[in-house]
């Protein structure tokens, strides 16, 4: 009888002990519908692969999961999604995308001490959104600094016309390109802003043609950039077209009219001889039958960053909160990312060499200017 009572007591005591494993949820505020949904699909592929790897490796004591919210790439929807993730789902860490959305959700992160990490938006002012906002993608000012000399000095395209979407990323690129083109010895011969919802560009093509540019720089994204390239080409713009990393989507890369287009993007070293890079490339290829692009890698790295920091906090016996994640990031000198070992700067950004790609056609590109 005594043994039975002892056994029951032990069982009860064991049940009363706190669970040693903690499940974690992080948020992801991506465009899952609307004209920019293609990006959400690409970002999600990187996130899901990272979560799969982290759980398979038992990097954390519990299971990691992602709660997706649809921003439609709109700031207002993004803030609603961020508020829900922070207040209802209580996530300490959320992924964001798009410059406008990221700028909007950063205030939610700062106010609630929740870490927000961007791996897709490239507006230069994303470096100034406070210490709870981090970027795992190099920002557009670095891209423009590589593209402008390439166009003006290497290619001899002195007269640059620009078509830009009238939102934070378009405005940022307009300012930076104007400065960099002038510094390289070229001139901006025309700047044409378009609304984010515009779909008809034959009139814009006529205005652009009128400026007699050597090259046309496009600062748009999503389905609009596909329509823009096609309509510029169809309406007599035979000059070279250039853009930034937003062009690295399958719909642009496979567009027949996009053949010969130049775009800047971070340099990815997917042939790096380390187990992490090899595993990500192999597993992504097995799932999607192609190599992972920069967006996939950036969001994989963003999730990996959470796992590394949360794991360190668990070992130190500290709770995984936004504040502790920030402190742990500051205490961590470098991170082993896919394709590189990186460090976060004080403003929460990372730097990477920028290369210029040319679209060859059928979804492929070639590097025409190596990473600088």
């Amino acid at each position: 009888m005594k043994k039975l009572i002892l056994g029951l007591t032990l069982i009860q005591a064991a049940w009363a002990l706190p669970a040693s494993a903690t499940d974690y949820a992080i948020g992801a505020i991506f465009p899952m519908s609307g004209p920019n949904a293609e990006y959400g699909q690409i970002f999600g592929a990187g996130v899901n692969l990272a979560v799969e790897h982290i759980n398979a490796d038992k990097k954390l004591s519990g299971t990691l999961s992602v709660i997706y919210e649809d921003s439609q790439a709109l700031p207002a929807q993004g803030v609603t999604a961020a508020t829900k993730l922070v207040n209802v789902s209580k996530v300490p860490y959320a992924l964001s995308a798009f410059t406008g959305v990221s700028k909007a959700v950063a205030s939610v992160g700062a106010r609630t001490k929740t870490v927000m990490v961007n791996g897709g938006g490239v507006g230069p002012d994303l470096a100034t959104l406070g210490e709870y906002f981090w970027n795992t993608i190099p920002l557009a000012n670095f891209e423009v600094r590589a593209m402008a000399p390439f166009l003006v000095k290497d290619k001899g395209f002195k007269r640059v016309a620009m078509v830009y979407v009238d939102d934070p990323i378009g405005q940022s690129l307009l300012t930076d390109l104007g400065t960099e083109v002038k510094a390289a010895g070229g001139e901006m011969v025309g700047n044409f802003s378009i609304p984010t919802t515009a779909q008809q560009f034959s009139g814009i093509a006529a205005r652009v043609r009128d400026t007699k540019p050597d090259v046309v720089y496009i600062a748009s994204y999503g389905n609009q950039q596909v329509q823009l390239i096609k309509q510029l080409r169809d309406n007599g713009i035979s000059q070279p077209i250039a853009s930034y990393s937003a062009f690295s989507t399958p719909s642009v890369l496979t567009l027949p009219e996009a053949k010969g287009v130049y775009f800047s993007a971070q340099q990815l070293n997917l042939t790096r001889d380390d187990p992490l890079t090899k595993r990500v490339v192999a597993d992504y290829k097995a799932k999607h039958n192609k190599e992972p692009g920069a967006y996939v890698v950036n969001y994989y790295n963003a999730v990996l960053t959470f796992a590394e920091l949360a794991s360190a906090l668990e070992k130190a016996g500290k709770p995984v909160t936004g504040e502790n994640l920030l402190a742990q990031r500051k205490a961590t000198k470098s991170f082993e990312f896919v394709g590189a070992t990186v460090s976060f700067a004080d403003d929460g950004t990372i730097k990477a060499p920028i290369q210029i790609n040319e679209i060859v056609g059928d979804g492929t590109t070639k590097v025409v200017s190596a990473g600088k």
Binding site: P35, Q200, G203, N223, N235, P250
Partner: protein, 290 residues
């Protein structure tokens, strides 16, 4: 030369807008159903044409027939199994609108799941502009768009004014209760309206696929144009919808000669606003008895 170029572009865009708006205007004018899924019909037709022509490499007439079939089936089934059921239970105008709007979202997501979320285009030499005069570029497809608009509007005008079915359809728009006295069935006529309205959107969808490309979310833009053209042209007037489409397309392009491109879309809504303020009945509108 810039003005001439913008004028020609405006003509092409306007003809396309007229084709887009005609179906919605017909359906709304005859049945008083705010068919918010009209944009979804457009998207379905465009994607079916793309799949048949660019992916399966079928000839364009077969691809166009497939697109017409898909659009018609969608429109008629939506009327038969959604709108009719709501109306049978005396659902309000708003209930029908919400159902239609919900259907548009479902279609948008289904297309994104089936065809991926990125934009697709139909490549054709017809969309490549040729330099007619120094600085004046015109694509052969501009003539196709204008010709299509003229043919479809003439055919529709003939159908509505010269055939007994057309007269019955117009009567449906005037007084759906009274036509039952003449032995006509409003429900059946409503299905004919949806059939014709859905077919009308097909040429616009095909031409849009070739000129500016398709994406799953493009139905929203189609609806904006359709609503604006219906109000500016006058509810229930096909001539009005055609005229309004042309006005909006021309204005959107011609304004580029004087203002920044960023404001070109706003011009559409300025025109709409002015009509609502000063001529709420539209160009060819008539008094509407609610």
């Amino acid at each position: 030369m810039l003005f001439t170029q913008l004028f020609i572009n405006g003509l092409q865009t306007g003809a396309l807008y007229a084709l887009i708006a005609a179906g919605f205007s017909l359906i709304f004018g005859m049945t008083r159903i705010f068919h918010a899924a009209h944009g979804a019909t457009f998207t379905i037709a465009g994607y079916i044409f793309y799949e048949c022509y660019s992916v399966l490499h079928l000839s364009w007439p077969i691809a166009a027939l497939a697109a017409t079939f898909a659009a018609s089936v969608f429109g008629v089934l939506l009327d038969r199994f959604v709108y009719a059921i709501i109306q049978r239970h005396e659902g309000s105008f708003f209930t029908v609108f919400v159902a239609s709007f919900g259907m548009a979202i479902i279609v948008q997501n289904l297309i994104a799941m089936i065809f991926e979320r990125g934009a697709v285009t139909v490549s054709t030499p017809l969309s490549k502009s040729l330099e007619m005069l120094p600085g004046l570029y015109v694509a052969p497809i501009a003539a196709v768009v204008i010709l299509c608009a003229v043919i479809f509007f003439m055919a529709l005008q003939w159908l509505l004014t010269k055939t007994s079915m057309g007269i019955a359809l117009r009567a449906l728009g005037e007084n759906p209760t009274l036509i039952e006295v003449y032995g006509l069935t409003p429900r059946l006529l409503s299905q004919y309206v949806f059939l014709i309205g859905s077919i009308l959107v097909v040429p616009a969808a095909i031409l849009t696929a070739a000129t500016s490309g398709l994406n799953p979310a493009m139905g929203n833009h189609v609806m904006l144009i359709s609503i604006a053209a219906t109000i500016v042209g006058g509810v229930g007037s096909l001539r009005g919808a055609a005229m309004a489409g042309l006005i909006l397309g021309m204005a959107e392009n011609l304004c580029l000669s004087v203002i920044d491109p960023q404001w070109s879309e706003a011009v559409t809504f300025v025109i709409l606003f002015l009509f609502i303020l000063f001529r709420p009945g539209g160009v060819y509108g008539r008094a509407v008895v609610s």
